[in-house]
């Protein structure tokens, strides 16, 4: 493979473009495809679109050539609402798992650079922030504030999107109250059932780091389509 092609690939990844590296397995020649940035129609582009859409690299036989299509989707995103102690542990764990993490909290004393070095912080209200950041099916949202004023707008935004995971911190009681508030706002049972609450797998987690582990585990299970009791 050419060095220049590798450089172009890295630039595309950094600018979060959806890019496919198509390698002809016989000739060894590679090219980069940006299938969602063109209206061009070809068998190879169609295969590349499918690979990106399903997050699945695969081989494709086109005429007499076999191509390997490796995909480079931008990272999955995790929006953490509430720059609380658990968030300080959850952010680096999620980053290590490959997520782009954004911590949202309008309370400056919580969402400070000192508490979250190297973490992307957003100090807008959750509904404003999420409105602009537009979470999609490759995103997850976790609310951790314990404060309905902050959590609820975030959950409402989450329910209106097609994020693959919604988690809300809070006891069973807090959860029941939240359920009532969301019902009053017009959300259906099916909508509200999308919220994982109390958040995380029940592994008896106590410390902020342990709770972060249980959240990461539940989130991963959701992503990988593994049903949890």
């Amino acid at each position: 493979m050419d060095n220049s092609l590798l450089q172009e690939l890295q630039i595309a990844r950094k600018s979060k473009r959806q890019v496919v590296l198509a390698t002809n397995l016989t000739s060894g020649k590679s090219e980069l495809l940006y299938p969602f940035e063109t209206h061009e129609v070809s068998e190879l582009l169609d295969e590349a679109r499918t690979a990106l859409r399903f997050d699945k690299p695969h081989e494709a036989k086109i005429d007499d050539d076999v191509f390997f299509l490796n995909i480079f989707n931008p990272p999955l995103r995790l929006f953490i609402v509430g720059a609380v102690h658990i968030a300080q542990k959850l952010a680096p764990m999620a980053a290590a798992t490959g997520y782009e993490v954004i911590v949202i909290d309008p309370r400056r004393s919580f969402g400070s650079e000192m508490r979250f070095p190297n973490v992307a912080l957003d100090d807008r209200w959750p509904d404003d922030a999420l409105g602009e950041l537009a979470p999609d099916r490759r995103s997850a949202i976790v609310t951790l504030t314990h404060d309905a004023k902050l959590d609820d707008p975030a959950l409402e935004a989450a329910l209106k999107s097609d994020v693959f995971y919604i988690g809300a911190l809070g006891s069973t009681r807090t959860n029941a109250k939240r359920h009532q508030r969301l019902t009053a706002k017009g959300f259906s049972e099916t909508d509200i059932a999308r919220i994982n609450g109390p958040v995380g797998l029940d592994i008896g987690a106590q410390s902020p780091a342990e709770i972060a582990v249980s959240i990461m585990a539940e989130l991963t299970a959701c992503l990988r389509g593994k049903a949890i009791e």
Binding site: M1, D2, N3, L6, Q7, L9, Q10, R13, K14, T23, L25, G28, K56, P57, H58, E59, F68, N70, I71, P75, A91, P92, A94, A95, A96, G98, Y99, E100, V101, N118, V119, A120
Partner: protein, 112 residues
């Protein structure tokens, strides 16, 4: 979190390959292109190798990396590419395979 891709853990394969090249080192890339059974790393997983045998990333759970590196070192000098296959009942001279019972095909290429 603003990790520059996977750079925080120093396991960004493409970044490492490019970095080695700027240092004037020879580089090869290995990619899992097919798996059968319980393969340790999914299709698309990559490993970057430099001329000293340093590696970043993975194509298995450590089972076949050694053999892939040997092949990569040869390709760095000869240029070109090669497709390798590893399985449990591996009867080529490698004598390496996957303990888990899976089978994988790996595409190895020199980066020019």
């Amino acid at each position: 979190m603003n990790t520059d891709l996977d750079l925080a853990a120093r396991d960004d394969v493409i970044e490492s390959a490019l970095h080695w090249q700027t240092e004037g080192k020879k580089v090869a890339l290995a990619t899992v292109i097919q798996t059968w059974g319980s393969a340790p790393r999914p299709v698309g997983s990559q490993l970057a190798i430099d001329e000293a045998g340093n590696m970043v990333g993975s194509v298995s759970g450590g089972c076949v990396e050694g053999a892939v590196i040997q092949e990569a070192l040869e390709l760095m000098n000869s240029g070109g590419h090669k497709t390798l296959e590893f399985g449990v009942s591996n009867d080529d001279a490698w004598e390496v395979g996957l303990a888990c019972g899976g089978k994988i095909r790996i595409f190895v290429e020199a980066v020019g």
